[in-house]
Each structure stands twice: as C-alpha cells, then as structure tokens.
Amino acid sequence: MEALAKALVTASHAVDVITFHESITGTERRKEGFQVHRIGNIIRTHVNIVTWAMILNTEFERVATDIMLASEGEQVVHASEWLCVPAAVQLKRTLTVPFVLSLHSLESNRSSGGPLSGAITYLERLGCTEASQVFLRDNNMAGTVKGTYGILEDALIVVPSFRLDAEKFVRRYEIAAASPTTYGSRVESH
C-alpha cells in the first residue's frame, strides 16, 4: 500500500492511508506527499482475529468519515483484504462512495476450515459483492472468486504479483467512481 500511495501521489492524486498501530500516533504527513492516519483498537482484549478486526473497523469508519467529509472531489475507498471490508461497506452505505478491494490471498487457500473460516469467508464474499472493482494477484484467484462468489468478470482485475502499475489502479478507480453505487450488484444471477 505504501508503494501504491507513492505512485498515486506522483500521478497527482490525494491519498490518505488509514492503518493500525499499537499506540495512537496521530496523523503523519509523509514527505512523499500522502498522509498516514494510525488508529488503535479501543478494545484491548479479544478472543480471536475476527473480533479484533470488527472492532478496529468501527474506528476505521470514524476516521475515514472525518477525512472524507473534510475532502473535496471524487472519492474512492480502497480496502485491503477482508480485514477492512466492514468499514468499506459501511462507508459506501453512508457516504455513497464506491470502494475497490484488494485481495492478496483467499481464505480458502490459507485455511483448512478452522472455526473462524466461515466468518472470514463471509467478509471476503461481502467485499467482493459490494466492491466496484476487485484486484487479485493471479488468474487462479480470479477463477476462484468468479466461480465461488459468482462475481462478474468485468469487476475482477488481475495484477500479477501486485506489481505496481499506478495507472492501472487509477483507471479502475475512475471506473468505480463513475459507476452507480449499488448494493450487492456485482454478482452474476444464477
């Protein structure tokens, strides 16, 4: 995400990155021209990664809403992995902004069906369904997402090994921004 942020700034786009940090450090203005907002998890004790992520997403929502309401122009939310999907979906609902999703790997490939796999897979599917564009690392992933989640092919973009191509991302942001913000529309009807 850091390399993408740098490339986007170079291409004259304003970028705010919201990410986790164990201690709240406030907003950092990077010399490359983008801003990093580090948030903490207000709940210190968790029983698993899903409860941790769900609570953290509420803080993502709060900070992102404040940033986006203070900003002008077209806006796109770029969520990285299932861990950020809840906030991206909520921001789409409340601010009517599209979001794009990057999936570096899929739960079905990572896990052999642990107790949290169902919840993580649900969030992954939710993200794919709600996102205007989904960036994937390879064609295998694209095939799985299309076949398992029924996502329309024109919403899937394969970026081999996530090799950086800012232009490619920007083109897709523009497609996402120009699309009507619909709920759960990126799915093939069966």
Binding site: I42, T45, V47, M54, L69, V89, L116, Y183
Partner: protein, 404 residues
C-alpha cells in the same frame, strides 16, 4: 433503537423492556424504529402499535462463539440500519442502544451518519460474573466501557445500577440517569378458571411459591431450595421453578438431596400466558437473587397482585418497601428467606395488604407511559444539545443510495 432481542424473540429481559418502551414512546408521538435480530415466522419488517420493526438476518456466517457471532450480527445490523436511516427525510434522528450486544452497530452509525447516540445499560459483565474470569468476559466488559464512553447519555434502570456503571466505567455524574423499568398492568387482567389452572401445579391443600428467573447462580434458586425445608415445617407448599439455565441439573439434585423433590416442580421455559396466570394464582413469589440490576420479575408479580419476597439487593431494594408492597430477606440467607416466605403464606391479611399496595405502586410509578415520558425528556435534551452543535452530516452529502 437497537436491541438484539425484541418479541417474539425473547432471550432475557431486554426484549420486554424495549417492547414496552418503544410502544410507550410511540404513544407519545415519537417515531420509533427498532432494529433487531430475525426470528422464525416473524416478518422482516412490520409496524406494530406505531413502532416500525426491522429484523436483520443475524446468521449470515458460522461463528465459534457468542462474541464473534455478536460482532458479525452487528455488521449486518449496521449495514441495514444505514440503508434505512440514509433515506431519512431529514427529521432529527437519535440512536438508542440497549446493551453491549449492539455497541458496534450503534457506535458505527453514530460516526458514519454523525448522529447522537445514547445507551441503556441493563447489567454489566462484571456484575454478572463477580470476577472477570477470561478474555471473553474481559472483552465484553471493555465493550461496555466503549459504549458508555461513546454515548451521550447512559440510562440505568435502578440507582444501584447507576452507581455501579458510573464507578466501573468512571463516568461523570451528569452522563448517567436512572429511569426504572416498566410493566404493563393490562397484561395481568382477564378471566380464566383459576381453580383448574392451579390444580395443574399444586393440590388445593398446598400454597404456591413461584420462582421466575434463569437458573443461574446469581438468581439464587439454590438459596430458595435451602429455605423450603424450614417453610414446610410451618406451611404445606409447592415451589414452582420457572424457566431454564445451566444450573438445572444441580438444582434437581439439590431438591432430592434436601428431601423436598415432591414439593418442587421444574417447569422449564414457560410461555407468557402461563407465566402471567401463575403469577395470579401464586400465594408468594420468591426472588432471592444475589445480583439484580433491576428485577422486572418483582414488578410483574406486583402487577399481578402476587405478594413478593425478594432479597435485599440491587434493584429489588429500591422496588420493594419492606412490609408495605413486599417483604425483604437477607441476601444468600436461607433462614431469613424462609422466615419471610412463612410470614406471607401464614398471614392472609398481611399478604392481602401487600397485594393491594403493590398494585397501586406499580400503577403509579412503573407504567410504560410514565417510563416513556421520562425517556422522551432525555431524548429531547440530547437532541437539543446535538442540534446546537455543528457535528452532523453536511448538507452536501445527499443520503442517497440505490438498492438492488
């Protein structure tokens, strides 16, 4: 309002509370929408007694425990409520969360829609558990703190709970307010054949002592069983233990060990109609809780004109005036409890006086209309403060989204 339970989904006391309060507020002209979990056979959307009810699919993903399920459910509730609230015509909206179980959705909606949010804390995890034993309980405790931190005002149902919540979460005094639970007296009228109904549970020679409450440690059913041998020395009675809980097997064994199993009936879950009738044929209702944030069962019994015997704890201490509208017993003291039950069963005139006083106090102080009036005042205070400030969704953001 956000609540994980609403009739017909009834898990504990929150469903009845939200039901009574929402209807009471609607009667006062407040436009109330309740977001809650789905229930088999209940419509996803309906309007009842002026209250709009939205039921959310809460089982979209398999989860390994209650806390994970709850946060996933909150995601669905937050998404759905955002869609509904985003189409709001522009009237001021206030969010009212009931318990930690809807904290994530309430706080998320507060920030993403920039709406004022307040919460009712019905009980705390620390109060329920005495000691926070594991990460699950510690997490719930911290979510409760988070909710009280984010809410503009906190309602508790008793002064006892207000003190506990304020101390535990270090809340400023002007953030909390005590508004009691309510009860609908009209639920406890109507005719039925009391003699025949009573025979289903006890012989004519036996007095009925009714216990209602989850069979968990803090509700004190074990203390009641320990008191019964003493009561039986004075008065022939049948104890009816309503509902279920993890202690049921232990209590069954205890009744047998005490030699009173012929005098105790474990009914399992009781439907609303049967429960209300049981209150009305009971000669005494015994609620020997060790921890009781409010004690809605005492109000229900009083509304049904049943004499109540309660332990002198928490909300019970505030509802019952000893010897006036009920009798108090020393908490976790079987001898004291037995003496109080005998006093009620053995003195019909005394019991009759308790019944009459209790019914009047319930009518005067605990009607849902009265509770709704007090709650509406707090709503108005919060909305007034909100509207004076500038923290809200800018006009340029048209709250429009296309649903499919």
């Amino acid at each position: 309002m956000l609540s994980w339970e609403y009739p017909p989904r009834i898990v504990g006391g929150i469903a009845r509370h939200v039901y009574g309060l929402s209807r009471g507020l609607a009667k006062l002209g407040v436009d109330v929408s309740v977001f809650t979990c789905e229930f088999p056979g209940a419509p996803r959307e309906e309007k009842l007694d002026g209250v709009r009810i939205f039921r959310v699919d809460s089982y979209k993903a398999p989860t390994p425990n209650l806390a994970t399920w709850d946060l996933m459910m909150n995601q669905s509730m937050e998404e759905f409520a955002a869609e509904i609230l985003s189409s709001n015509s522009g009237d001021p909206v206030l969010l009212h969360a009931h318990e930690w179980l809807v904290a994530k959705a309430a706080i998320g909606l507060k920030h993403t829609l920039r709406l004022p949010m307040m919460a009712t804390i019905h009980a705390t995890e620390a109060g329920r558990r005495y000691v926070l034993h594991d990460d699950n309980e510690r997490m719930i405790d911290q979510i409760e703190y988070w909710l009280t931190f984010e809410a503009w005002r906190i309602i508790c149902c008793s002064r006892y709970m207000t003190r506990q919540v304020s101390a535990q979460f270090s809340l400023p005094a002007d953030k909390t307010i005590t508004i009691p639970n309510g009860v609908d007296v009209s639920d406890f009228v109507g005719t039925f054949n009391k003699r025949n109904f009573r025979r289903e549970f006890a012989s004519p020679a036996e007095k009925i002592v009714l216990f209602v409450g989850r069979l968990v440690y803090e509700k004190g059913a074990g203390v009641l069983l320990e008191a019964i041998p003493r009561v039986l020395q004075k008065v022939n009675c049948k104890v009816i233990i309503g509902s279920e809980g993890y202690m049921k097997e232990e209590l069954l064994a205890k009744a047998k060990r005490l030699g009173i199993d012929q005098h105790v009936v474990f009914t399992g879950y009781i439907d609303e109609t049967t429960l209300r009738r049981l209150y009305r044929v009971a000669d005494a209702c015994a609620f020997p809780s060790l921890y009781e944030p409010f004690g809605i069962v005492a109000l229900e019994a009083m509304a049904a004109k049943a004499p109540v015997v309660v332990s002198d704890v928490g909300g019970f201490s505030e509802i019952v005036n000893d010897g006036v509208n009920g009798v108090k017993a020393i908490p976790n003291d079987a001898e004291s409890l037995a003496a109080s039950i005998i006093r009620v069963l053995d003195d019909p005139a005394y019991a009759e006086n308790l019944r009459a006083n209790a019914a009047k106090i319930v009518q005067d102080q605990y009607s849902w209309n009265q509770i709704a009036v007090l709650t509406k005042i707090i709503y108005e205070e919060v909305l007034e403060a909100y509207l004076k400030g500038s923290w809200r969704m800018p006009q340029r953001r048209s709250w429009h989204a296309t649903g499919t």
